[in-house]
Subunit: 159 residues, 2 copies
DNA sequence: ACATATTCGACAACCAGGTTCACTATCTCG
DNA sequence: CGAGATAGTGAACCTGGTTGTCGAATATGT
């Protein structure tokens, strides 16, 4: 039986909601001096955190190490990341945030909090917390930064 | 973490929620005889509805007519769509669902309803309706099938 | 009625982000 | 020591999107 809203509505609204927040983030980020950072970059910077390697980064992002390396290339070119040799293991190259990368990440966190506050102001904090709780219930427990599936299609592997 | 979740959590969970549903849809769709239909295809079939043109399809999907035409090419090759000349206007080619396309669309609708029922069973129908209502509140009113923004990337703005 | 403008579909080139395959350099361990 | 795993890189390719261009067909204005 078709429930009141067609089942189609739910996934669509989830996607729209995501886009609203991401678009809001990048509009504001651009305004605050980071015009050339793109949606995927934020996730990458977040996943880099306090230093990692390309393989580990790929694992965290749920993509191949090659895909991760491409992002690192781009972000290094933009001045958000730096590669450095690992003294303990000559195979590895440590990826670390530059000052600009840290700044971008800090601003992103603040902007996300502000956007969330906007939602709370409209929906009410309790409704928003219920929404978050329900989404946590229905989605895999993948605290960001550790093994979570690629954002979209894709079925990583490689090794 | 219990209260005051980082603002980052919200967009992530929205995206995860979307993916859970889409992955569920396509897993079940594959089981029901449509193994080669991919995420974007469902949106295209939905947007085609009872016949349209490439330009109109692009407008509905929020992409260029060329991008829309590529999807039509793929879905025509897979046997879900058919192009036919428009008797009234020799420039146009009418895009229409084949029987297989209609079947796929009908199954998708049923599966989406079932997935939604699963959510309702876990969260409770009232909580789910609240979630849907809140998402409707926070997202642009773009009833599917008419002018809605691309699912992801969005505007070019260099790279 | 006819010149001009617009629209439709197609083709080509390109970009972003992902994949697999392949390869070298470097550990690690039995 | 040597076999095997692991880190990074490069190349070829796929998908899905973008411009830009173009010819054919239809609309439109004088």
């Amino acid at each position: 039986m078709s429930t009141d809203p067609p089942g189609f509505e739910l996934p669509l609204r989830l996607l729209l909601g995501f886009r609203v927040l991401i678009d809001g983030l990048h509009a504001e980020l651009a305004r605050q001096g980071h015009p050339d950072v793109r949606p995927a970059h934020g996730f990458v910077l977040q996943a880099v955190g306090h230093g990692t390697t390309a393989v580990e980064l790929g694992r965290r992002l749920g993509v191949t190490k090659q895909a991760a390396a491409k992002h690192v290339d781009a972000l290094e070119r933009l001045g958000y990341l730096r590669r450095a040799a690992d003294a303990a293991d000559a195979r590895r190259k440590l990826i670390r945030l530059t000052d600009r990368g840290v700044d971008c990440l800090a601003r992103s966190a603040r902007i996300f909090d502000e956007l969330r506050s906007g939602w709370a102001a409209t929906l009410g904090e309790d409704r928003l917390q219920a929404l978050e709780a329900d989404l946590r219930t229905m989605t895999p427990t993948t605290p960001f930064g550790l093994d979570f599936p690629g954002w979209f299609g894709g079925a990583r592997s490689d090794g």
